[in-house]
Amino acid sequence: MMMDFLPDMGEYANYIWGSYAAAAIILIGMAVITVLSHKRKKAEVQRLKPKRG
């Protein structure tokens, strides 16, 4: 089903799909690392904040 959707990239398909795989890994990887690190830091700030009352 997926292969029906994806176009035939000819004899250089490995290079083309390799580029898209590298892009997906780097872009998604950086996004996940950034968001998770941000959430971790945010939680730590909440933990360290002096409790009122």
Partner: protein
């Protein structure tokens, strides 16, 4: 400009921009990938490998754009001592490094079928490799220095000195005889890219820009929290010492 030096004000602004930037990013990526995978355009010289352009060109553009932004932020810090400038620089560096690595990897994967080799030491490729090392050096310097003020000054100077590499990368294909092709124009009244290629390329360029904006804002919020953690820990230590 200094009114945004207040972290609470910056966070409010970032929180307002983030959903819109994320929306633009998702729509542009979806539309761009749809056009790429449904467009049957095959270049007369490069065949189907022209599809690599849609990730290579936006990544290469942004790798230089991110470094230029870091250099501007460094200048703003050195001249006006704006505290958010260093935070922005520190947030942009890892994203710029990742995009430079992506531009190099996709360039190599495009180079092998077109040039018959993954790598040549021509001016454009070498300039991009130097850019990656500059990003790594910038990030390493931040991590190596404990004094935040000294680190901010040192990294700002490194970023400004390294900016000399940007015009070399940009004009290398005109100044020297390189294997890398000269720059193609997407802008102006007479773009020299085939009309079938322009819409997906524009969509991917916008998607990458929005991606960069989103990650920079999240990275800046994270850096503000990191500094807050250091301040809170220091306050705890002082209060524990005083008791």
């Amino acid at each position: 400009m200094h009114k945004f030096a207040n972290p609470a004000r910056f966070n409010r602004l970032a929180n307002a921009i983030l959903p819109w930037a994320t929306g633009v990013m998702v729509i542009a990526f979806t539309y761009g990938l749809y056009l790429i995978f449904t467009n049957s355009y095959v270049d007369s010289k490069q065949g189907e490998t022209i599809a690599i352009m849609y990730v290579h060109v936006p990544a290469a553009m942004l790798s230089m754009g991110a470094y230029a932004s870091i250099a501007i932020a460094s200048f703003v810090y050195l001249v006006w001592r704006h505290p958010l400038a260093t935070i922005a620089g520190r947030a942009m560096a890892p994203i710029g490094a990742g995009l430079t690595a992506l531009a190099l990897i996709t360039g190599m994967l495009w180079g092998e079928p077109m040039w018959g080799t993954y790598w040549v030491w021509d001016a454009r490729l070498t300039g991009m490799l130097v850019l990656l090392f500059l990003y790594i050096g910038y990030m390493a310097l931040w991590s190596a220095m404990d004094d935040a003020e000294k680190a901010a000054r040192a990294t700002a100077i490194v970023a400004l000195v390294g900016a000399v590499n940007l015009p070399i990368i940009k004009y290398s294909v005109e100044w020297w005889n390189t294997l890398h092709q000269p720059a193609s124009s997407l802008l102006g009244s007479n773009p020299n890219i085939h009309p079938d290629l322009q819409a997906p390329l524009w969509a991917m360029v916008i998607a990458f820009q929005a991606y960069f904006a989103v990650l920079t804002l999240v990275g800046m919020k994270m850096e503000l929290n990191r500094r807050k953690i250091i301040a809170l820990k220091s306050a705890r230590m002082h209060s524990a010492g005083g008791e």
